[in-house]
Every structure is written in C-alpha cells, then in structure tokens.
Amino acid sequence: MSPLDDRVKPLRQDGPMSGPAAAAAPKIEGKKVNVFYGAKQALFDVNIPIKTNNVTALIGPSGCGKSTFLRCINRMNDVIPSCRVDGAITLDGQNIYDRSVDVVQLRARIGMVFQKPNPFPKTIYENVAYGPRIHGLARNKAEMDEIVTNSLQRAGLWKEVQDRLDQSGTGLSGGQQQRLCIARAIAVSPEVILMDEPCSALDPIATATIEELIDELKQNFTIVIVTHSMQQAARVSQWTAFFHLGKMLEYGDTPQIFTKPKEERTQAYITGRFG
C-alpha cells in the first residue's frame, strides 16, 4: 500500500447505507446544496432524496438550476473552474464532496447521458469498450466482447449494429447515437444513471424508444432525468421534483405532483401558465 492509497478513502460498501435499512433509504440525497458560478448563485439550499431503482424527474422552466443540480451528482461541475458547491450530496450515505473521495471512482458508479448525443469519434465497439478499458473491467478480449454485447443489448441497440461494430459511432442516426451513449454509460456497470434532457435533440419515435428503455433500465439502475417536457416526466418517472429559480419548490411522487401539487407555482407551471 502506498501513502497515496491511505489519503484517498474509497467509497465504502459497508457504510451506513447497507443492511435492511438500505432498501428504504434514498440512494442519493442532496442536503442544503448551494452552487455558485463565480459570484452568481445558481442553487439555493436544495434538499432532495433520490430513491433507489426509481426514476426521479427534475422539471422546471429554463435556467431554474435542474441541470446544474444533476451535474453536481457526478461532480461534472468540477470541470468548470468558477463553480463552487456548498452543502452535501450523499451516495449511500457518504458525502461525495468529501475531500477524500476519488472523483474517477465516483463517475464509475454514476454514469451520465448528455443532452446532445456525444459519441466519441471512434468505432461503435470502441465507444462502448472505452469505459471498461480505463477501469480495467475486462481481463481479455473475450470478456470485453461480452461487456460490449451486453451493454448494447441492454441499450436496445444491439440488433441494429451487431454487424457493423467497427464503423464510426458518429455515423449513426441521432436516436441511435443516444442509445450508444446509454450503452457506453451502462458498460461500466454504474449504480446510477443521470440523464440531462436525453431526448431533446431527438425525433418522437427515437424519444419513445428511449423512454421505453428508461422504463426497463430502472429495474437495475437508479435514474435521475432532467426534462423540460412535463409529459415525458409524467410518463417515465415515479418521483418528480420541481425546480424554480434555483430552488427546489416541491418534491413528491409523480401522480401527486401532476394532479394535486401542493405549491401554487408548481400548479402554475404544470398548467402551462409559465415556462
């Protein structure tokens, strides 16, 4: 063991979130999260639970901070130098913003799918294999092949690309590219998948395919999806959080939010009075 090893503590398996209580406790929890871009504050005191193996939708008008919060969960905001995050976000009870947490490991447990499909300019096979390769998940080609096949199947793309794995990922249609990105995220076996408006750049048929996929995926993954379409949120999610001007105004199960919201502004948003 090297000295560096001791300094960075791994995310624990035997933390407070294992055992019988684990099933009921949220997978991820935001506690008093405040986010600043330079001097400008983007999120104000956000407290929100994300339940395991459920789909949680974050909705709200443009610029309300939902994407910002999503990107905090896998610490993608670290890449932006002017961004500062106060408060805590816990994964299985452990604060991911603790200085001792290894971001690389975190992102192996929490995958992300972006708004505009962004496959690597590599082959389809390489796109999916990249993550497992850098995390050393496959000991030989056979294992890697299995991971790639598995991931593409899970993402509902296998049948369409099985005989052209060596073609460029950027040559696929928009919907296929996004499913490729989902396959890429799944390939490292994460526990959580974050989706930032994954269908906004896609046509309705591709959107429907991805929504079906999300429904299947939730059996094995915890999913958080940011969407500007309320209909989509109503279709795919079990839990919904409404964001407005950097604050999370209401959180509840999806049917309740969309039929009997408790906050007046939530009601105004879902009835289309603003947005």
Binding site: M76, V79, P81, V104, R107, G111, F120, G131, H135, R184
Partner: protein, 317 residues
Amino acid sequence: MAVARTDEAAMRADEGFSATARIARARRAEAIFVAVGIGVTSIGVITLIALLAGLAHDGWSRITPDFFLNFPSRRAGQAGILSAWVGSMVVMLVCAAVAIPVGVGAGVYLEEYAPKNWITDVVEINVNNLAGVPSIVYGLLALGLFVYGLGLGQSVATAGLTLALLILPIVIVATRESVRAVPFSIREAAYGVGATKWQVTSHHVLPSASSGVATGVIIGLSRALGETAPLVTIGALSFIAFLPTPPVQGEFPFISFQWLLDPFTVMPIQMFNWVSRPDPAFQSNAAAAGLVLLVMTLAMNGFAIWFRIRMRNKIKW
C-alpha cells in the same frame, strides 16, 4: 415665368448630368481597382514564379546527381551539397525531437491544465513575445548558452536546440488552437465515463487535435529548414567537407551519439557561403542550392496546406 421654369429645368438637367458623370467615374475607378487588385494579389504567385525561374535559369545546369553527392570544394564545378543536405536533415531531426514534445506539452498545459491566473497570463504573453524575437537573437542566446555556457560547441546538438527554441512558439500556438477546436462535449463524455484528465487529453483531445498540430509542426520545421541567421551566429560556416559520425557503427557499443557533437553545415548556410563569393561559377552553385531549398520548402508548406484541407473535410462534428 415660363422662362424661369425652363431655366430651372435646365439647371436640374445639368446637375443630373454631373451626378451621372460622377457615378460613372466612380464605377470606372472601381473597375480599375479590381483589375489592379487581382494583379497585386497575384504578387504571391508572381514572386514565386520569378524566384523559381530565376534560380532555375542560373543554377539548373548544376543540378546533377553529383551535386547531391559531392562535398563542397574549392573548385566550383565539383562542389556539391552532400554535407549540407545531410546536415539539414540531421539538425531538423534534433530540432523536431525537442520542439515537438516541449511545444505540444506546453500547448496542452496552457489549454487544459493551467489555472486562469496571472501566472498563466504571463506565460501566454511570453509565448507571443517570443514569436516576435528576431531569429538572430536566438543565435546569440545559443552562442552564449549552448556553445560556451554548456560547452556543446558548434555542433549539431547546438543547432538543433537553437532551431527548436526558434520554432517553439509556432508549435505551441498551433497546438493551442487545435486543442481549443475540439468540442467540449467530447471531453464531457469522457469525464462522464470516469476518465482522468490525462486520459481525456491523451485518448480524446490530442487525437482529434492531431491534424492541426501536425500542420503546425510541418510549418515550423519548414521554417527551421530555411533559417540561416541563428546558425551563422553560432559559427556553422566553416568549410565542412565531411559528414557527421554515423549513429550506427560496426563495433561496440554499436550505437553512437557522437554525431550530436560533430560540426556541421546546413543547406541555407551553404548557399550563403556560395553567394558571398564573387565568382559567378559559385553563384551558379548558390542558385542550384537555392532551387533545392526552395522546392523543399514549398513541398513542406504545400503538404501542410493540403493536409489541413483534407483533414478539415474528413472530420465532421
């Protein structure tokens, strides 16, 4: 009354004519300007043709296989550029070996790693400044630092290092611009899968930026090929009628680095040497050497431009 109105009408008619005339004049001036413009802008093509034609006229007779295989000689008819072009190749090799890693490394650091503070600003301003430093000043630096300070003498290593310093700003700027052109979404995707910063840079950013970097390197090396002043300053002009020690030898230890410390000459210096002599026969040699040099420079620049255009059409974001 009728007379006054006719006068008015006449006056207006006069104005109309002069306005029309003015506009016609302006139109003509413009047409002339466009013709002149095309002519002047073609000065690039014209000069190139004039240079090639002039050099060919003076030196074509000297372009023979012997010219490439002979050493310089006091007899103009037997003099050749063997030591010069081998020297150029070897010096450019050393130059590339230093300038590429350091230049690309610096470019990557400034674009991907450097925090946005005053230190980084100083480094950036510094790189821009270095691009404006006269090439002979690099020669003075090399004279003081490499030749005498580090004791490398008037050698291939000194020449290569000097030229590497000279073209470093070119490589750095080309790297920065190419890296900056890689879309952020690619980096995001890689970070999202859990890649470290260096993995993102080396697996994704640099491969995508490679064509731009390669173009910059080629242009830099083409500049290094044609540089005379710094090498003159470090004292490369002695009559070099031999090649550097070969790197591979028949006896132990089989690989030698002696060539790095050997004296040398390069193509532009050989040409300079010959053109400085009043004997027209040597000027013929100079023309021939210049022709070879010019063709090599044009080939490198032309390749770089062609390469850049090819790559631009291939990569679709």
